[in-house]
Symmetry: C2
Subunit: 460 residues, 2 copies
């Protein structure tokens, strides 16, 4: 068992500050743990005693007649050293400190944080936090994200792990992922990283079987050398995608007001990402697009891509985005062009992008996709579908993708611009065939670019 497993798979949890009082974090934590699918034992600890949701409240963690894997702290910062001592003598394995009021507040807070870490280390307790939202483990329902459930959705189980230095942004990302039906394995808002830092978590997620991709929002690494080593080691095992905030001079200033991190030069981070094989994203949408593609599709074995579309304009936009990012539109072989000519109407374009025209039914997509994927010069395929067309049966397109995605050794990315209907079938194709489908040509190309970068790293 990995020592960080106690954070994600605890058999028993003590909620320090557990409460029934409306509006408190202690109550939100108790509700999340008791009403969700988490099956371990939950013990509220509160000096006030009494009961919480029918459970006996312990005045001290030492009174609990059971082993405690994880203690979650939702009490004022200044009393945490004393309670950490009690946790130590109780044999607690892991401490998640939600509470703020530590190094992010200045010198006094820094001293308090150091003291808490010193106590924990003495007892071999690992700490995540303080000043964080904590953990969401979709696998077992362990959930410390205490926002009200009518304002904050959580994503389904999936294979993307998400690490966020910012708690509030992390919560918004969870909420967004739920709406977009993007699955996550584990989410961690790690706050001040007083003990366990982003590098430890990257290493941990590197060996986590439930995680296929690690996505990261970072302002500044706790320890540059350690971060470089963790990224270098783990990116050989699975893809890491990172959005580094603090890119401009004013952005760096804003970071220092926010997490107090030394943001470091963006150039240095870019160089580190390149050197260690971390895939860079420059916006939230790019981060989402790339993480989803890496979770669902295989890497591309080259930079040469093809586009099949029933709309010329969307094909041009995807072409522009591809070439602007350094991907190449494959020059299709004479053989491919001839086969396309046989199967497509005369007005179709057999040059890449392959424009199969606005009246294309699903069967025409099938032919074009199969022919293009056979061309050895094509390393990956973007399929653009304007589902508004009366000719295109979306259910049949799902079948086409089912058939093709199973046998293709090349990555396939979908793109379905539009509204409710397009969105519905985008999600259905994704869920049933593993082909990720994006709303815009730009995002589809971001996705393909990540698969190309990943392929290049693995090819080295």
């Amino acid at each position: 068992m990995h020592e960080l497993d106690y954070f994600f798979y605890p058999k028993s949890i003590a909620v320090i500050g557990g409460s029934e009082r409306p509006g408190t974090i202690g109550r939100a934590l108790m509700e999340n743990l008791l009403k969700g699918k988490y099956k371990g034992k939950v013990y509220p600890v509160n000096i006030k005693g009494g009961t919480v949701f029918g459970l006996k409240v312990y005045k001290s963690i030492r009174e609990i007649d059971d082993e405690i894997d994880l203690a979650i702290f939702a009490i004022p910062a200044k009393v945490i050293p004393q309670v950490m001592e009690e946790c130590g003598s109780k044999g607690v394995k892991a401490a998640l400190i939600i509470s703020a009021g530590f190094s992010e507040t200045g010198e006094e807070g820094r001293r308090l944080e150091a003291k808490v870490v010193e106590i924990a280390r003495r007892y071999g307790i690992r700490i995540i936090g303080p000043n964080c939202l904590g953990i969401y483990n979709a696998e077992n329902g362990l959930d410390t994200i205490f926002n009200p459930s009518d304002r904050q959705d959580k994503p389904k189980m999936g294979s993307i792990a998400f690490l966020s230095q910012s708690g509030a942004l992390g919560a918004a990302i969870l909420d967004w992922a739920a709406m977009e039906d993007i699955g996550m394995s584990k989410f961690i808002s790690y706050g001040n990283a007083a003990d366990v830092d982003e590098s430890d978590l990257i290493e941990y997620l590197g060996q986590d079987e439930k995680t296929k991709v690690i996505a990261l929002y970072i302002e500044g690494a706790k320890n540059g050398r350690k971060f470089l080593e963790a990224c270098s080691k783990v990116s050989k095992l699975k893809p890491i995608v990172a959005l580094k905030a603090g890119k401009t001079e004013r952005g760096v200033m804003a970071v220092s007001s926010h997490t107090g991190s030394l943001a470091g030069s963006y150039q240095i981070y870019s160089a580190v990402f390149k050197q260690t094989g971390v895939i860079k994203a420059e916006s939230l949408r790019e981060l989402f697009a790339k993480a989803k593609a890496l979770a669902l599709q295989k890497p591309a074995k080259g930079r040469s891509i093809a586009i099949v579309t029933n709309g010329g304009g969307a094909g041009v936009l995807a072409t522009d985005a591809s070439e602007s990012m350094g991907l190449k539109l494959a020059t299709l072989s004479k053989d491919t062009v001839e086969k396309l000519r046989e199967k497509l109407p005369q007005m179709a374009s057999t040059r890449n992008p392959v424009d199969i025209l606005g009246d294309a039914p699903a069967s025409r997509y099938k032919h074009a996709i199969e022919i293009v994927l056979e061309d050895p010069s094509v390393h990956g395929l973007i399929v653009i579908m304007l589902f508004q067309s009366p000719a295109l049966d979306a259910e049949e397109m799902v079948e086409v993708f089912k058939r093709i995605s199973k046998k293709s050794e090349k990555p396939i990315i979908g793109c379905a611009p539009g509204g409710r209907y397009a969105e519905k079938y985008a999600r259905e194709i994704e869920a049933t065939t593993g082909v990720p489908v994006y709303k815009t040509p730009l995002e589809a190309v971001y996705a393909m670019h990540a698969l190309v970068e990943r392929g290049e790293l693995l090819g080295k």
Copy 2:
């Protein structure tokens, strides 16, 4: 009355090829015109005769005992010259040709197109099309976008006019706008632009009282000089935002396969946009973001912006995006900082971005926004709201925006990353207060950038 008004406000329409046969464009057109809110007269014309949805079918347009403002063509290309002659002798004012099979197909099609235009000009008939989806006028329900209504939504009435050289992409954009609750005044897919071209439409929309912003997807202008003059004239009256496809070498090749336009160098278009005051967008999301902001908010009187946020991370991302695009984060005056200190908790950041912390209620937003807007060095404000927070009452935020947006002379842009709840209140703030609210910091900054560019143009 403007001669193009016959396309958008016809009192009577003849549908050439009007039919009841399932799967035909003629049927879809009849359904859209009869079942929607369009109140003018509709006459089906079809050599087969009989009735269509209970209406008498005329074998020739000349048999109709009424004046016809607009003839919509959904019949094979080769018979159109003869029918256009009949339209001429009937005194038809405007012809919308949906049918394909013209200049986009090669030399023979080019000749056919020229012939149709020659006949129309002889009778003073203006043509939109051929090879297009036609018109959607949200004001009177005139709608020739013939995609099935379960696959294709149409936006509500609003003040953005949308011109698209690509029909399929245009349809997807309409569908998307409907889902995002973005209102449109008029939509035109103008196809081959055999007679009325993008420049004529820009001039027309320039004087259209229902249109506040013109958004344009263009691959290549029909007539460069005319385009330059139209943009130059109209952008003085109202903002034009353009997405020019065919940016890269392969993109230009794709354009020539698609619309057959000479895409022209992207550099030349960029220079024309700059010279004529057209605001450039480089992606669909950027186009949407900018058009919406220009429709709802006033221009900014300078490049210096402020950010108020309850999440530090999102504030950093907005700062990076602003500075990367050439906006400046305002340096708040001593007076502003002092006033903020008085109203905000000690841990808040009174530097710009102003971080009012994760526990900020709506009242704290109100104070911060009012104080920051009073600072003369601030020309525009981005308000970031992480609505997942238990402290932030979204209904109260709507009230804050109602109060502030009324009296502010500076533009305000909202940003609410997240899922369903955030999305719901984003739309409500937009609809009730006119503050556009975006999902990501990047899009909020695109929006502000457009308002800054617009302000600079008007300041010249």
